[in-house]
């Protein structure tokens, strides 16, 4: 019997479990390679050629080239890995969050300065579904 995923109903969140780890393996291995300067140099000189060494899916490869940060997570990427690609592009964790939430840099930073995103209304997917139908 499969292990029940009691965390799937948390809205706006991917839990990086074994299934995601399997799907995202080559994507994440590509991302972590960018922690070293020589690899960043090689990638920045020829992105397509560098990616050929990582047998990721065409969708994952496309999302890397287009820097579709949420899509990378949807396709099995993990934030600690994808943040290496962001760092390569000069984007830090907070600005990356500003992009992923769709809020933009300033609004996101302001939200954090005001205590962050409240858990109220953000615990269950059903709470987000209700907001959308309002």
């Amino acid at each position: 019997m499969a292990i029940k995923k009691d965390y799937e109903d948390i809205p706006g969140t991917f839990v990086f479990d074994a299934d995601r780890g399997r799907e995202g393996y080559h994507l994440n291995q590509f991302c972590i390679s960018l922690r070293l300067q020589k690899n960043r140099d090689a990638f920045n000189a020829d992105e397509e050629g560098y990616l050929d060494a990582y047998p990721m899916t065409p969708e994952q490869r496309d999302a890397v080239l287009k820097r579709e940060w949420n899509r990378l997570l949807e396709l099995g990427g993990n934030i600690y890995y994808t943040s290496k690609l962001a760092a390569n592009d000069g984007i830090n964790f907070q600005d990356l969050a500003g992009i992923m939430t769709g809020m933009g840099r300033e609004a996101y930073r302001d939200m954090m300065l005001n205590g962050g995103r409240s858990p109220e209304g953000n615990r269950y997917q059903s709470e987000w579904d209700e907001k959308e139908t309002d």
């Binding site: 009691d6 965390y7 969140t13 990086f16 291995q29 922690r35 964790f93 969050a97 962050g116």
Partner: protein, 284 residues
Amino acid sequence: MARITAGVGCSHVPAIGVAMDTGITDQPYWQPVFKGFEKSREWIKEKNPDVIFLVYNDHCTVFDASCIPTFALGCAAEFAPADEGWGPRPVPVVKNHQKMASHIAQSLILDEFDITIMNEMEVDHGLTVPLSVMYGDKTPEDEWPALVIPLCVNVVQYPAPTGNRCYNLGKAIRRAVESFDEDLNVVIFGTGGMSHQLQYKRAGLINQEWDTAFLDRLTSDPVGLSQMPHVEYLREAGSEGVEMVMWHVMRGALDDDVTEVHRHYHVPASNTAVGHIILENKAS
């Protein structure tokens, strides 16, 4: 014999390290974060531990997805700060008490905690930021005032070890320390957290009420706290808030009765709630 006299819980937000490394800790954004560690720096100077047993997680820096040990004990002679994608932190190399680390490795495995032994390892901000906030600015030419035994815990790929497992590991670490035949003052650190979510559309989640209750229960109800299921961390404290399981290792290694001697909590540091606590064994 060696003995554990106190525990430190501490966030390890990378931006805190960047703020120290770039000399901007006096800026209004950072000033309240560092203010809360002033007392801690006096405390640790006074306490002057010989060895810090430091529980932390690697952030896909040293461990890539090819090998994911749940518990990895640093047994190398020293650990260099790693390049995490923006160059290594300009802080001292971390020196181990290698003989004690290998003793602990052996003791833990015979005590049925099947840890991974790391004879070569670099360390990322998860380990060096807590040292920096507790000891203040250090350059690569300096030395950390204590030897450090690192224990790296997987909290990146779900599931992290359970809180209960971490708490009991803390007890086994204590048994290992107390069976080491050298008179050493050991302080244990549990790091990470507090509430934060770095990813996707719910990024920025902060739950001050939950964090406060967690800090309270470290003293009043540590066993009950260690029973909290993963889904509660994920839902209430954000997907990256599950790092908090590492604090149970620290708590398990202390006496049942402890005294809270210091607490600090501040929002935000980048995407994260900064939490910090110092607990002392009553007897020591």
